[in-house]
Each structure stands twice: as C-alpha cells, then as structure tokens.
C-alpha cells in the first residue's frame, strides 16, 4: 500500500511537490521522498507520526495557548512531509534576504540620524513621525556596531506561479527558530535513512551563529563578556524557545526581576551577589523594557535599563525602535528603500499592497474590501486581519469602518493563493497552504540559516498559518544540490 496512492489534487494552486498538469508529475527535488513514501506502509507512517508527537510532548516542545483558562501548553502540530528547497532556488532567497536586511538596517540608521530618506521625499515623514514604534528618544543615538536588527525573521510566501514574495518583516523579537531546530531533530529520528541519501543542509548551527552575533556587540575591552537572554517569563507563549536558545548558547536566561541597574550598569542578582551584564538578547518588546522610560506599569522590565543602554554600558539585540521598519505600512515602501540605499532592484518582491493612508488607495480598499486582505499595521500573530473573500458581510462592514476611521493603521493586499504542500490529513495526503520564515542574523556579516520554519494552515482552504489560529509546521530542507 502506498501513501501516494490516493488521488492528490493540486487544483489551481502552485504545489511544492507536484508539477501541474494532467499527470501531476513529482518535481525532481521531491523524487526521492516520493519513492520513500511509496515504500512506506501506512501503519508505519502512523507509528512514526505518533512517536514524533509523543516526543514533542515529553520534551516539552510546546507553546502556551492564550485565552484558555487552563493555560494549556500544546505542541505545535507537526507534519511529517518536509518542504524541500533546491540549491539554486535557495541562493536566490538568501541573496534577497541579505539585501533586504542590509537595506532595512541602513534605513533605521538613517531614520534615527539624518532622516535623509524623508528629506528626499522617498518615504512620507508623517508615516515615520507618527508611527507607533518610532522612538523619538533615540534620535541620534549610536547603536553598538551600527547594527539595529541583529535577529530577523522574514515571512515569505509563493504565489500561484511559484514566485517567492515577502509577506512581512519581523524586526523586533521574531520567534520560531527553536521549532526549526526541533523539527529537524524530529525528522532525523523519524526518517534517518532519508537524510543520508538527500544532501540536506544542517540548521543546527543557528544557536552558535546567534551567540557569535551577540558576542559581536560586547564592548571590545571585555575579555569574557556576559551575555544573557531576557524573557518575559514562564507564561509567555515562546517561553520554550527562550529556554531552548539559552541552553543551546550556554547563556543564562533572566527575567526583568533578575536584573538591577546600578550606576548605569546592568547587573544580575546571583547567589554570590551582583554581576555585570554586557549583552542582552531581549525577547521583550520595547514598551516593556524599562518602566522609567516606556510603559510605567511594566513589571517585566528593568528600571534604568535604557539609561545604561544610552551610556553604552550594555548592548541590546535587537536595538530599541526597530519596530518602525517592520510596520505594515512601511513594508509597502521597502522596495523603494532598497533602491534608495543600495541602488538595486529588490531580489524578492513584495506582495502588491495598498495603503489606506493614501487617498486613491483608500478609495480602492473601501470599494473592494471583500476582494482584499486587510491588515492592521501593528498587529502580529494573525490578529487584526480580514480576509475579504472569506469574510462575512458584517466583518467586511466592520473593517471598512475601521479603515475609514484610522487609515494610517491599515493596509490591504491582493489575496495571494499561497503555494500548497502535500500534508497528512485524516489518513491521506491533501494540499495545504504554507509559508516560510527563514532566520537572518546580522553580526559581523549577514548570514541566513539554510532552512527555516515552514508553517502550514492545517484547516482545509485556510490561508492563516499562525500557530495561534490552527497552524502547524513542517521541516524545511534546503538541499546542497538541486535534486
């Protein structure tokens, strides 16, 4: 019996594994996987799936579901069919991501210094000066090594012809890298032989590269700098990841209450007294970092942290105020930003985007809201979003009113028929929509880990891949060659 026996429909979508056409041929880089699946009895496949799930639960590879009185920890549903990217395709993605992060860093440095790009009229000043994540307090502040975004997770999707497009940039505290690594470990256990025959590039170097990136920020004269990971705490949905990364890097994981500032230096409370901290990989948003500067009611932050940062006594990754560049409105300007600073055309294009803040676009959005995807500028995790074609009349009307009232807060995009990948659903393979979040690190140079987190919308027909909304994930294989 074969897993591929069931009639598989690519329909009118771009399918990662099967080329379109009457015979639905398996794409060359998926062929060895197809052979393996052909020879795998269904019972055995099920057994491996159960073993992988059990291992995730036992190892505590979970995320916390909010809005659930139980505070339930769940495993991130994992699909055993990997997403495979051949070498040539990956090189292009990699070049596009490096280019984009490079330009965004130049943009942030400009925004917090001379603001040439605003003066030259490439980006409307009102968009920046009125942006929620613009930190006026940090004008003319020189961040350590001139780098603003050290850790970046860029969401990519493929359209119905298989073109890679950038969906959004995550420049504040992108999460998910730990799942990329845990998914790989799970696949290695489930299909050890397959890895030997395919040349899959390893993702396990991520943590080491991250540590290098963080150490790069330490003051020169420090012989053994102290690097810590600052977590909001055990109730945060990404707490597993914080622990995972801290363990992999061998650095302490601290909460705000573990840190204390004395004479503009940050210290951690240890059993042997205070000890100075040099670099903080913070997984807390700007707003919560320091109650004396940002939100006064923050209990997660460290009073005085910003002062220590300004004095150059501690480095933060990512820097404060990077959110101004991953705002969904600024996103629309990124192709122009790349052109402005690098004089190059973007290697990875954006999804066609309409800005409610611009009159003509706004008119278009209000008239066509049922055909568009509308997003709030500053929300993450799939919240504050309308998928017009799938929404009810009421929902459309509600969003129309919101867009009209606060145009700066909304953008709209053409709905993209995200590519699909075969996914195990109730006893057979069916096409499900996927995206890709690769992880880019900016230390001495910019590096992209070959792989990433492929998220999959498990509900039939759904385009929302977020874990908080019924999404799962797959292992992502970047090959050394093209097959």
């Amino acid at each position: 019996m074969s897993l591929l026996r069931s009639p598989y429909q690519t329909e009118h979508f771009f399918d990662e594994m099967f080329a379109a056409g009457a015979r639905s041929e398996v794409r060359p880089h998926y062929r060895r996987l197809a052979e393996r699946l052909d020879n795998l009895p269904e019972a055995e496949f099920d057994q491996r799936r159960a073993a992988v799930d059990a291992a995730f639960l036992r190892r505590g590879v979970t995320f916390t579901v909010y809005n659930d009185s139980q505070g339930t920890e769940r495993i991130f549903p994992f699909d055993l069919i990997p997403r495979i990217i051949p070498d040539a395709e990956w090189r292009r993605i990699e070049a596009g991501l490096v280019q984009r992060l490079h330009a965004l860093n130049l943009f942030l440095d400009d925004i917090y210094h001379g603001q040439k790009i605003l003066k030259d009229g490439v980006v409307p000043p009102a968009l920046i000066l009125g942006a929620k994540h613009f930190r006026r307090e940090f004008m003319n502040f020189n961040v350590p090594r001139g780098i603003h975004v050290h850790v970046c997770g860029t969401d990519l999707i493929r359209d119905d012809r298989g073109n890679y497009l950038v969906l959004e940039d995550n420049l504040r505290c992108p999460s998910g890298a730990s799942y990329m690594i845990e998914n790989r470990a799970a696949m290695r256990r489930a299909f050890p032989q397959l890895f030997q025959s395919y040349g899959v590039r390893p993702v396990e170097g991520y943590a080491e590269q991250l540590l290098k990136t963080l150490l790069h920020l330490a003051p020169d004269q420090k012989e053994k700098p102290t690097v810590v990971l600052l977590t909001p705490g055990v109730h945060n949905s990404a707490y597993f990841e914080h622990c995972f990364l801290a363990r992999q890097m061998g650095i302490p994981i601290v909460e705000g209450r573990d840190l204390v500032v004395r004479e503009r230096r940050v210290h951690m409370r240890t059993t042997a007294g205070l000890r100075q901290v040099d670099v903080i990989y913070r997984r807390i948003d700007d707003d919560f970092l320091d109650p004396t500067v940002f939100r006064a009611d923050s209990m997660l932050g460290v009073p005085g942290l910003v002062n220590a940062y300004r004095a150059g006594n501690v480095a933060l990754a990512n820097a404060i105020g990077t959110g101004v560049a991953d705002d969904k409105v600024i996103y629309a300007y990124v192709p122009r930003i790349i052109k402005y600073y690098l004089g190059e055309d973007p290697i990875l294009p954006n999804v066609n985007t309409y800005l409610a803040s611009e009159q003509a676009d706004r008119r278009f959005i209000l008239d066509n809201i049922d055909k568009l995807v509308v997003k709030a500028a500053n929300e993450a995790g799939g919240y504050g979003m309308l998928i017009g074609p799938a929404a009810s009349k009421d929902e459309c009307a509600r969003f129309r009113a919101q867009v009209a009232a606060q145009p700066r807060n909304y953008i709209a995009q053409d709905p993209i028929m995200l590519s699909r990948s075969p996914t195990w659903c109730d006893g057979q393979l069916e096409g499900r929509h996927i995206d890709l979040r690769p992880y880019i690190l900016h230390g001495e140079k910019i590096t992209v880990t070959p792989g990433g987190l492929t998220r999959v919308a498990l509900r039939k027909g759904s385009l929302v891949v977020n874990s908080s909304q019924g999404g799962g994930s797959k292992d992502t294989w970047v090959l050394k060659g093209d097959t």
């Binding site: 999460s175 990404a238 650095i251 951690m268 997984r283 993450a380 995790g381």
Partner: protein, 351 residues
C-alpha cells in the same frame, strides 16, 4: 589516537556559567523538595494502605492510624474543614489527590514541574523529561480510575519517577552550586519527613506504652520503618525483633542510614557550609548555628534521653529548627521581591 576534529571555523567561546541567579537557586531547591515530598507522601500512604490490608479486623487501630497520619502531616485543620472523618479513603484522597491541599501529591508534582519549567535551561533534558512525563500522566489521570485499579500502582509510579529523577540528577547534573541547592532541598525535606513519620507513631505508641512488644505493635513499627524505606537496613543492625525504641533510635540516630534524621541533618549542615560559604569553625549565620546545634544534639544524645524528654516534643523542636534553617537560607541566598501577577504582561510579548 583520538579522532582528529574536523577543521571548521572556530566556535565562539561559551560564556562560562559560573554564576547562579538567585531565582534559579530558589527553583532548583523547590523542585527538588517537592519531588522528595511527593515520594515520601506516596510511600507513607502506600505502606499504611498495605499495613491495614493485613489487619482488617482491627478497625479501631485503623481509624487511629489515619487520624495520626493527618495529625503528623501538619494539615489537620485543613483536613477537618473538608472531611468529617479520617479513614483510609478520605485521608488518601486528601493527601494524594486533593488539589485544594497544597501538600497533596498531585500539587507537589505540579509545583515541582512548574519550578523545573522555570529553570528548564538549567537542568538536563533527561531530568526534565522525567518530571514532565510524570506531570503529563497525572494530568490525564482520573482519581476514580486510580481507586478502581488499586492506588498502589499510582504510588509506585510516583516513587519510581522520583528515584529516576534522583538517579538522572546524579548522572547528568554538574557538581556546581546548583547541585548543592538540589541536595539541600532534598535533605531538608527528608529530615522533616523523618520527624513526621515517627510522629505518626508517637500518637499510637504513647497511650498504650505498656503494650510494647505486642503483635500489633510489631506490625505497626514495621510499617514505620517501611515508610522510611528503612526496614531492610534496620534488620541488618537488629537481627530479630522490631522493638519500638530501637526502631525510633534507628530512624533518629543512625549515622549511616540515608533517611535517618541524624544522617540528613549532617548533610544539611555540610551543604549549608558550602552554600553560605561558612569556612570557619564558628558559624557566622543563624542558619549554620542552628544546624550545628541540632547536629550536636543528634551526635550526643541517646534514645533514652529523648524518650525521657518526650518523643513528640523532641520531634517538634527538630521540625521548628529545620523550618528556621530553610527560611534563613531562602532569605540570604534566594531573596526575591514579592511575586506579583506578571502573567498578562508576559503573554503580550510575541511576534
């Protein structure tokens, strides 16, 4: 020849984890204490359920035993509010499964797991898996099923998991400051439990002190020794009979049995020295002074002495000293600003 290492770009040097956060020390200590507590309670209940199965006709004695068990657990008032009578079912239910009782086995396991989760980055994957797996099993266990299958299986599972955890801690946790906190928690809990196990029998023993040596008494003292996993060890020292005062002596004064009060206090004293950096002959901290004083008593006094003073009073004094030591250490090394409800804000951070 050792295999040559592949030439690769030099990995970054690991920042040495030579310091320990106070919060981490605190969690290691409680994780260890809670696991130990769950194990002791499981054994205590298991032994008593067994013991009574052997002596079914002695329902008066049985009633008495469960009453004493609750008395010595230190949660008598709490128990009384929730239950009318103390019998095998109500006491087991309360001490093992009742989520309203902070010291119940279920709550101990949950608390141990929550502490382990807070320091997930500090302990080995193996240690975490044992604790997490036990937690997952208990979460999906229904009390009625446990009773239906006989609670012994449940208790055995708790005890085994605790042993596995201790073994893995021993095999995978670095001998560092964290190790001292783990051991300190365990030894303090054991010492405290030793006093409580004995105290259970004090309630039974004293009213009928003249009965010493009766068949029921022997069986009961066997149960006491079993509750501390001490029966086999005791028999190696005292070949034939189980005499109440010898059993008490063994559990209080043995300097080689790892669950005796003396043995545990000696360990606590040693660990205190390391944790508090007490290098001099004369202790500087109140905690070290208290433990030295207690150890001194256990080294120099005799069982006759203690029975003369009153076993119960002696055990109560020991418990109070142990509690004072715990508080003092927490204050000096693990002090933390009072915890407020951080949950909402912790949840807001995500991208």
């Amino acid at each position: 020849m050792p295999p040559t290492r592949q030439a690769a770009s030099a990995p970054p040097e690991r920042p040495q984890m030579t310091v320990m956060l106070s919060r981490v020390a605190h969690s290691l200590y409680w994780m260890s204490r809670y696991i130990e507590r769950a194990e002791s309670t499981a054994r205590l209940l298991d032994v008593n359920l067994h013991f009574l199965a052997d002596l079914q006709d002695l329902s008066v004695a049985s009633q008495n035993t469960w009453e004493s068990l609750i008395l010595s657990s230190g949660a008598y008032e709490e128990f009384r509010k929730l239950n009318a009578t103390a019998d095998s079912h109500s006491v087991t239910e309360f001490l093992a499964f009742d989520l309203r009782h902070a010291g119940s086995i279920l709550n101990c396991v949950y608390a141990a797991r929550e502490n382990a989760r807070m320091i997930r980055d500090q302990i080995s994957l193996e240690m975490w898996e044992v604790i997490n797996e036990l937690h997952l099993i208990l979460k999906s266990t229904n009390t009625a099923d446990v009773w239906a299958r006989g609670p012994q299986e449940f208790f055995t599972r708790i005890i085994r998991a605790s042993h596995q955890f201790q073994g893995l801690t021993d095999a995978t946790f670095p001998r560092s400051e964290g190790w001292e906190f783990i051991r300190f928690g365990k030894m303090l809990e054991r010492a405290d439990k030793a006093t409580r196990i004995l105290d259970v029998k004090y309630h039974i023993l004293l009213p009928s002190a003249t009965d010493v040596g009766g068949a029921l008494d022997t069986a009961q003292w066997q149960a006491v020794l079993r509750s501390a996993s001490a029966l086999d060890a005791y028999r190696r020292y005292h070949v034939r009979e189980i005499l109440p005062w010898k059993a008490a002596e063994f559990l209080i004064f043995s300097d080689s049995f790892p669950r005796s009060l003396h043995f545990c206090v000696a360990q606590v004293d040693d660990l205190l020295r390391r944790i508090l950096g007490e290098t001099g002959a004369r202790p500087r901290s109140a905690a070290a002074r208290a433990s030295r004083r207690l150890l001194g008593e256990l080294e120099s006094r005799t069982i006759t002495d203690v029975l003369g003073q009153g076993l119960h009073e002696f055990l109560m004094d020991c418990q109070a000293t142990l509690a004072a030591i715990s508080d003092e250490v927490a204050e000096t090394t693990m002090f933390y600003p009072a915890e407020s409800s951080l949950e909402d804000q912790q949840q807001q951070q995500q991208q």
